[in-house]
């Protein structure tokens, strides 16, 4: 654990995609998802084209298909509703294995599934190739509000400190015989959460003092490494341009 904050969605690597500045990748991912969402749902082959573009990025970034597939399961709970649509949608219906499936329902389900899946896969690709800290720097370079960047930066740093404090408080509780098995025994845990909040608040004040003491003036200092070059922008936006061409083809074909 030598290198800053590793997170389970990041897959370190030396590829060209990894080396691109974060802001380029954020913009490319955003534009890519925008194209997917704007594509007519009946333009079936176009969605296959989007997947091919992503596969090409994974090959360049050396992200194994299995690695992405396992993590994309996170989408599953969100698409349960889509599975119900063919059964609950309006007529006309089509017969399939003895079930009468609604045609508009099928199309609606497909729309949710394919666009959701492509969105998740795009986000996973961004997360796999960009450390969390660089994502924040990218947002800062793209002009995200200073307050948002500051809050996210501090959250990144302190979430583990607060989790450690919560862990120690829990250990201290169970060491004194606390064993919350039933709802009415949760009082001590709830009070623990309350005191954790008060402690975190007090820590927040101390951190603020320490920041003021080192010249804090309301903005995280920008890192001095150079901004993205036109070549990096061209390289990074290539998949987004391909996605735009596909979306255009989808509109023209339907």
């Amino acid at each position: 654990m030598g290198a800053g904050h590793a997170h389970p969605l990041y897959l370190p690597g030396p590829s060209a995609v990894h080396r691109l500045p974060a802001e380029v990748k954020i913009v490319a991912a955003f534009l890519g998802v925008l194209c997917v969402v704007a594509t007519p749902r009946e333009a079936f082959p176009v969605f296959g084209g989007y997947l091919l573009v992503l596969v090409a990025v994974w090959i360049v970034a050396r992200i194994p298909l299995r690695w992405i597939a396992v993590r994309s399961l996170i989408e599953a709970p969100f698409v349960v509703l889509a599975v119900l649509l063919p059964f609950t949608g309006p007529p006309p219906t089509v017969e399939w294995l003895g079930f009468a499936l609604s045609e508009p329902g099928l199309l609606g389900a497909w729309n949710i599934l394919v666009k959701g899946a492509l969105g998740v896969l795009t986000s996973l690709t961004l997360a796999a190739t960009t450390p969390l800290r660089d994502l924040l720097v990218g947002l800062q370079r793209l002009g995200a509000p200073a307050l948002v960047v500051t809050i996210a930066t501090l959250m990144l740093r302190y979430v583990d400190v607060i989790a450690g404090e919560a862990r120690r408080m829990r250990l201290a509780r169970i060491s004194r015989g606390h064993d919350p098995r039933f709802l009415w025994q949760l009082g001590a845990t709830a009070r623990g959460v309350g005191s954790l909040f008060v402690r975190s608040y007090a820590r927040g004040e101390r951190v603020h003092l320490a920041m003021l003491a080192r010249g804090w003036a309301g903005r995280m200092p920008r890192r001095s490494d150079a901004a993205a070059t036109p070549r990096q922008w061209a390289l990074g936006l290539a998949p987004a341009v391909a996605a735009f061409a596909l979306a255009l083809a989808g509109w023209l074909a339907t």
């Binding site: 800053g4 003491a213 001095s224």
Partner: protein
């Protein structure tokens, strides 16, 4: 300027009371010359932290004045004052808030307008001064207590302050980490005010000590002499560790 050297820190008749009326500082007077290492001793609640927060204008004196290398601690000067006064807070987790050691050390000088290669050089020099160069890209969370304390010191050294203020630098350190910190501090060529309850640590690092009690300076002199004065220590709830005798 011939013959006159400005003191690093001058505190003249500073008085401060908290909003609830509790008088935390009463007519505090002291002067620290350039290059001196001074310990600020005193029992809990003596006003030590309150005094420290006056040094960089986080608290403002209700009476009296504080000057750092000739510059008054007043609102228009606060930015420069905070560059000149480097405070290392007691809990490194409060001080180290950036995701990596390198970024945290760069935070102060970047706020004071240092950029590019200069900033990089400052960070390198500060980390080298505390023997932490190889930990530049690590998260502070993954460091030991002693390493965090040294990085906290580096975050302030990188601002190239006129005076270093260390708040309880040896608390929660194991003996080895405490010794390593002492070695680092002794190597630094800096004016220093060290707030501490650790009297042997004060004796090791600071030739001069000031005792603060109930908001007032009650003693100021060579550390060894003050710590050998049992009556003085007893009167102000100070105590050497068991078995520790000064002749």
């Amino acid at each position: 300027m011939a013959g006159h050297v400005t003191a690093s820190l001058e505190i003249a008749d500073v008085t401060f009371a908290y909003p609830d009326g509790h008088a935390a500082l009463r007519d505090v007077k002291l002067c620290i010359e350039r290059g001196e290492r001074v310990a600020l001793l005193g029992p809990n609640g003596a006003g030590k932290t309150t005094l420290v927060l006056h040094l960089n204008g986080i608290l403002a004196a209700q009476q009296g004045s504080v000057t750092v290398a000739g510059l008054a601690v007043e609102k228009p000067n606060l930015r420069e004052i905070r560059r000149r006064v480097g405070i290392v807070f007691q809990d490194p987790d409060d001080q180290l808030f950036m995701p990596t050691v390198g970024e945290d050390v760069a935070f102060g000088p970047a706020n004071f307008g240092v950029t590019g290669a200069d900033l990089h050089a400052r960070v390198d020099a500060a980390l080298a001064a505390v023997d932490m160069v190889e930990h530049r890209d690590r998260s502070p969370l993954n460091l030991s207590g002693g390493q965090r304390r040294r990085v906290a010191l580096a975050t302030v050294l990188a601002c190239e302050p006129e005076i270093l203020v260390l708040d309880e630098p040896s608390s929660n350190l194991d003996p080895v980490a405490r010794r390593e910190l002492a070695e680092v501090v002794l190597r630094l060529d800096a004016t220093m005010l060290m707030v501490t309850h650790d009297l042997p640590f004060a004796l090791q690092l600071c030739p001069r000590s000031i005792v603060l009690d109930d908001g007032a300076v009650v003693a100021d002199g060579p550390t060894r002499e003050l710590l050998a004065d049992e009556e003085l220590l007893r009167r102000h709830r100070l105590e050497l560790p068991y078995g520790f005798v000064l002749s």
